[in-house]
Amino acid sequence: MAEKAELGIREFHGRWQGFQNLLQAELNRWFGTRRWIWQSLLWILLIDGMIGVIGIASRIFEELDPAAADVHQVFGLIAAFGSIGTVILLQTVIIREKENGVASWILSKPVSRGAYVLAKLFGNAAGVLVSVVLIPGLVCYPLLSWLFVGSWLPFGHYLLALGVLALEILFYVSLTILLGTVFDKPAPVMALPLVLIFGQQPLIGLVPKLIHVLPYTLSTVTAGAVLQGEAVPFPVPLLATAGMIGLFTLLAVFRFDREEF
């Protein structure tokens, strides 16, 4: 009896029942193991390694004028790599658990389906933002400053620019999670965001108004402007991307609520 009182039955939070426990498990999966370290090292190697090679090559072979360095393009490259990495990392997050029965086991507990989806979203967003954006981004700071600009970039502006980049990555996190609730196989979950990543530029060429909606300009234009302390040229993509993240999240919860196990 005393043990039962000591354990204390959980209070019900309705729609978010089980969220705290699920989020803790997702975060543990990233930060309670060495996963985040290995992922950070991998993305440092890929993103920063590539930027380092490009920077050094530019200096050696083209005798690049630091003032002319196109930081915008570099950020675009980081975003493309980060987005692809995000999609690859998260393609099976929900599908695998739907397939192997872990999802239905969890949902047989007092857990709401919304809590399950949100825990997957927040937990994996945290893991990806730390391992794919923050740590490789911080390592990139001296590379970008000295190989492309020739002096230290303003650190505050740089962090803000990384924030813009993080928003773009979050767009792909939420899209991948949404697709995971829709499909039962990983192929479309990976293919559709990849088509979007590679197809945005030509798509904007065909329909120029899409520049205001698609997240493409966040890294190629907005982040660069923020980095250089300029006024953001198109604030709409920032808002549109944030809005789409919200929409994808709602759709994912809505779809998962109707999943049959």
């Binding site: 204390g8 039955i9 426990n21 999966r29 029965g101 047989s108 507990k109 007092p110 857990v111 196990f261």
Partner: protein
């Protein structure tokens, strides 16, 4: 005279239907599971047992009809209902990166707030219950089917639920493992109602007090196991004899108190199932008749009990023929 308290109904389904496209998996299922029963939910593969369980757990939505647990609707009050029950899936799968202890802690935190102090002792209790103490800190990815099943029972029990829903709890186990699982179920009988599906009829006969038989989505029988095994009240005696068994058959055939004799002849002996019509001390009369035949040796004589397997086959076949 004081009225005896009637057992409360823990699970109740009314006209439950489930359709996938053109396939009707459940056909108007009416089920009642009494409190503190070990309720065996039987049926051949594909009968709809797992679908029924999934509807009860809110993992699947019925096409029509309704289901209640603890008097609450499973669609409306799923969260509250699931806080009071434990579930073991047919093929238990847990996050592979967790150890058995972590799986139990993770499960426990869905039910309890103060997990820091009392939960570890509850986890130890559960590990001991299923005999996994020595494997508690091993990753579940390396567990055998039997070990996963044991862990599945432990996690279903972590919050001492009032109702356990077990989907084929012993199917993946060797005879020793099966025996252990049945013992655990027996132990839990006092504090919980157990609703479990199986196709292992021996297990049902061993532990269940109430059964329901499902065939192709339809409930074909439901009630206390004793009632099911009693069949239509027919009395049958089995004799195993050596010698001129035909003489006994001829003698019995002319008797008005004998309804029929079924014979299966072996190389050295014959087995006679004698169906008795009259209830007046038929055993003694039958034995006397057998012993009165010269050279006939009676090797075995007993009242034949109906096995659940026979009753099950008869009910399923009856349903298919009808």
């Amino acid at each position: 005279m004081a009225e005896l308290a009637r057992p409360q109904t823990i699970i109740k389904t009314v006209g439950l239907n489930k359709t996938y496209g053109d396939l009707r998996v459940l056909k108007s299922l009416d089920l009642e599971v009494p409190e503190h029963s070990i309720f065996g939910f039987l049926g051949p593969n594909g009968a709809g047992k797992t679908t029924t369980m999934k509807i009860l757990l809110g993992l699947s939505t019925p096409t029509a009809g309704r289901a209640e647990i603890f008097g609450r609707d499973v669609q409306q009050d799923g969260l509250v209902i699931r806080s009071r029950l434990g579930y073991l899936p047919q093929h238990p799968t847990f996050p592979a990166y967790m150890t058995a202890r972590e799986v139990l802690a993770f499960t426990g935190r869905f039910f309890f707030q103060n997990d820091g102090r009392a939960l570890p002792s509850r986890i130890e209790e559960m590990l001991e219950l299923v005999g996994l103490e020595d494997k508690a800190d091993r990753k579940v990815a390396g567990f055998s089917g039997g070990e996963r099943q044991r862990l599945g029972i432990a996690q279903a029990q972590i919050h001492h639920p009032e109702l356990l829903i077990l989907d084929e709890p012993a199917a993946a186990l060797d005879p020793l493992g099966r025996h252990d699982v049945l013992s655990i179920m027996e132990k839990l009988r006092t504090r919980a109602t157990i609703f479990y599906s199986t196709h292992i009829l021996d297990d049902v006969q061993q532990v269940s007090d109430t059964v329901a038989i499902l065939d192709r989505g339809e409930l074909v029988a439901q009630g206390p196991i004793g009632q099911l095994l009693a069949g239509d009240g027919e009395l049958v005696f089995r004799l195993k004899v050596q010698g001129p068994w035909q003489k006994l058959e001829n003698k019995l055939s002319g008797q008005p108190w004998i309804a029929g004799v079924e014979i299966s002849e072996g190389p050295e002996s014959a087995r006679l199932d004698v169906y008795v019509a009259s209830q007046q001390d038929p055993g003694n009369r039958l034995l006397r008749e057998a012993l009165s035949i010269p050279d006939l040796v009676v090797l075995e004589f007993r009242k034949k009990e109906i096995e659940l397997e026979e009753a099950f086959i008869e009910i399923i076949k009856g349903g298919q023929d009808g």
